[in-house]
Assembly symmetry: C2
Homo-oligomer: 81 residues x 2
């Protein structure tokens, strides 16, 4: 997975975990809303100054944005007997 | 510590651990040598495309560049008896 998509997936996950809307996070971190939306789509190579702003608002470590996402567990739906 | 300096310290540490000179790493990662030198001084907010290139050449995780550096243990020099 491209590093942009690793970052995008972590950004979405951390934002949801902390209960921020995309709009609120953009406002708090002083990031343009359109740019924020693009970041969550994995369309930009973000710079460290943005990672620093986001990590401060979300109260997470900057490295958390670059960690490989855990594979989602896709359990098969078991038909009820 | 500013995120630029966290990155710079990790870059120097990982480069030394892997036995690369600054010049060799710049060449292998296709990064301008002057820029590479500036990065190790913590004077730039690097972008993820550079972190991706460096992590591939050094065979480390991109997140390794953003982890807070361990405090150097400063043991006092004990005067020999």
């Amino acid at each position: 997975m491209d590093i942009r998509h690793v970052f995008a997936a972590n950004l979405r996950r951390l934002r949801h975990e902390k209960g921020y809307s995309q709009e609120d996070l953009a406002y708090e971190a002083d990031i343009n809303r359109t740019y924020m939306s693009a970041l969550e789509k994995g369309s930009h190579y973000v710079g460290l100054e943005i990672i620093e702003k986001l990590s401060k608002v979300l109260a997470v470590e900057p490295a958390d944005f670059l960690k490989p996402a855990p594979k989602p567990s896709r359990r098969r739906k078991v038909a009820s007997a």
